[in-house]
């Protein structure tokens, strides 16, 4: 049985061509994983600003390389017409990138919706989450040091546990903040 999917290629997506390629790679990978070698076809919906659909041809190659049939669907007109066009194709899965357009149309779509988050933005979010944890830990250590000092100088297993546990937590949380921030900047962190 053939499974149908629609990929909404949004020109308002940030990050340029590389981001579009990452998005389509993600869609192709998802389809290959979830259809386990079965046939599937993809319609790439795109509202071209340049009018020549050159972008779409490059994106189609990503699917074709993985043996997924892909066809371009060029849409002109307002964004409000997009859900109707997508639903008319009766897709089982609709892929969208995280964007204003995606948020606007997703309520009107039929079928399973899969949202793609920009890997760089994801790294930033993860870094911020780690950073928040590290900040709280640092604040606790420095604000309440006079209180925890009593435990630290006890010279017993509890003081050892508190010291090593805190050190590991700080190294993990702050290390995660730095590593994900570097990935956001496009730098692969080294391990030392």
């Amino acid at each position: 049985m053939e499974r149908k999917a629609v990929v909404v290629v949004n020109t308002a997506m940030e990050g340029g061509m590389q981001h579009l390629l990452d998005f389509t790679e993600f869609c192709a990978e998802w389809l290959r994983t979830h259809t386990r070698g079965g046939r599937c076809s993809v319609a790439l919906i795109y509202a071209p600003e340049d009018g020549n659909g050159e972008v779409l041809n490059r994106l189609m190659q990503v699917f074709e390389r993985r043996g997924i049939e892909a066809k371009p669907v060029l849409v002109s007109g307002p964004a409000s017409a997009l859900p109707e066009k997508i639903n008319s194709l009766q897709p089982e899965v609709v892929f969208m990138a995280e964007s204003k357009l995606g948020r606007r149309i997703k309520k009107e779509l039929l079928g399973l919706q899969v949202e793609f988050t920009d890997p760089r933005r994801r790294e930033l979010k993860i870094s911020a989450a780690y950073g928040m944890g590290a900040l709280i830990l640092y604040a606790v250590i420095f604000i309440s040091f006079s209180s925890i000092k009593g435990i630290l100088i006890q010279k017993n297993l509890i003081s050892v546990g508190v010291i090593l546990g805190t050190v590991l937590a700080v190294a993990y949380l702050y290390g995660g903040t730095v590593a994900h921030a570097l990935r956001y900047l496009g730098i692969k962190p080294g391990a030392h």
Partner: protein, 355 residues
């Protein structure tokens, strides 16, 4: 010259009052040490421990805090480090015994000196060990720099001699590819552990010792050392913490700088050539060495062995700090100058076009 009167036994260390300036200086030490560590593979302790001592942290507390800092970094770093796949497990397990014994003895000696003879004697002892190690390393690196290109293919003759010594038990290590009397890896591990426990610098000695004395490949030596560093760090941290010689605030402040610095240093390794790395390294080690040498008269004065004019102690401390930071900043300056030059060359070359 006055006689030295040791303080009463059972002395315990006082945590310093941490001002904003001191906190920032510790974070900066972490940053500089991190860059050097990331760039050179290890060596951050050359600057972090003496740097903290110059800021007024007792030597034993600086060592205890630094070894605890290294432990956390080793645990977190080991999760993603590919080199952990190159561990000779049989060799590593055997070496752990010597390593932990070395750390244990070092912590015991360090604590004993501090508790029975006082802070100045402890600082003097740690500084003397630093001076011996740093002077030896400086000499070796300078010799390597002079010989550069002439003997790079030299076979480890000393290792071959050691392999011929058959004091039982003699064991074959598959991954390392050596057959050696177990007493040699145990001795190397003990020495590494002793230095790690005394001054917080272990791997920097352990890796070359494994390569040149035991004849192990660089990759297996580095992987095995990384594995061992977790144990020496953990054991050192536990032992120092059990004696109350770890200041948690110093550890987390070191992380603040070092975890960023280590990444910048690692990036620089891909750009800067080996010779520049060695020049940077020898600059840091030699100035750190001089910084420790300069402090010796002050420690002797504190112990009552010599007398110095008023203000001389302060001057010595300032000179030591200037040498330490000056050397490190000079080395980092050299590294980043090379990085900038490499970036400029890359910018001038035409970018590939996409089709």
């Amino acid at each position: 010259m006055g006689g030295f009167v040791p303080p009463p036994g059972g002395m315990s260390v006082e945590f310093m009052d941490l001002t904003l300036e001191t906190a920032l200086a510790v974070a900066l030490l972490g940053f500089i040490g991190g860059i050097l560590s990331g760039f050179l593979g290890s060596g951050g302790a050359f600057i972090m421990t003496p740097g903290m001592m110059n800021l007024g942290v007792p030597g034993i507390l600086a060592v205890g805090s630094n070894i605890t800092h290294k432990f956390g970094k080793a645990i977190v770093g080991s999760r993603s480090h590919g080199e952990l796949g190159h561990v000779d497990k049989k060799l590593a397990i055997m070496m752990v015994v010597g390593l932990l014994t070395g750390v244990q003895v070092a912590v015991k000696v360090n604590s004993q000196i501090f508790e029975s003879m006082g802070r100045a004697a402890s600082n003097l002892y740690i500084s003397l060990i630093f001076i011996i190690v740093l002077t030896a390393i400086t000499a070796v690196i300078l010799r390597d720099l002079r010989r550069a290109g002439r003997d790079e293919e030299r076979s480890p003759e000393l290792a071959a001699k050691i392999h011929r010594v058959r004091i039982p038990p003699v064991v074959h290590f598959d991954v390392a590819g050596i057959t050696v009397s177990v007493w040699f890896p145990l001795a190397v591990a003990f020495a590494t552990g002793y230095l790690a426990g005394t001054i917080g610098v272990g791997g920097f000695i352990g890796v070359p010792a494994m390569i040149y004395l035991l004849g192990i490949s660089t990759r297996v030596a580095a992987g095995t050392e990384l594995f061992l560093a977790i144990f020496s760090g953990a054991w050192g941290a536990i032992n120092y913490a059990l004696r109350g010689y770890v200041d948690l605030r110093l550890v987390v402040l070191l992380y603040l700088g070092s975890l960023v610095g280590v990444q910048l240093g690692a990036i620089a390794t891909e750009i800067v050539e080996q010779r520049v790395a060695k020049v940077a390294l020898v600059t840091v080690i030699a100035t750190s060495d001089l910084g420790r040498i300069v402090m010796i008269p002050e420690y002797l004065r504190e112990m009552g062995y010599i007398q110095l004019e008023e203000g001389v102690g302060h001057l010595l401390s300032m000179t030591s700090t200037a040498l330490l930071f000056g050397g490190a900043l000079m080395a980092i300056g050299v590294i980043f100058k090379k990085v900038r030059e490499a970036a400029a060359v890359e910018k001038e070359s035409p970018a590939p076009s996409y089709r």
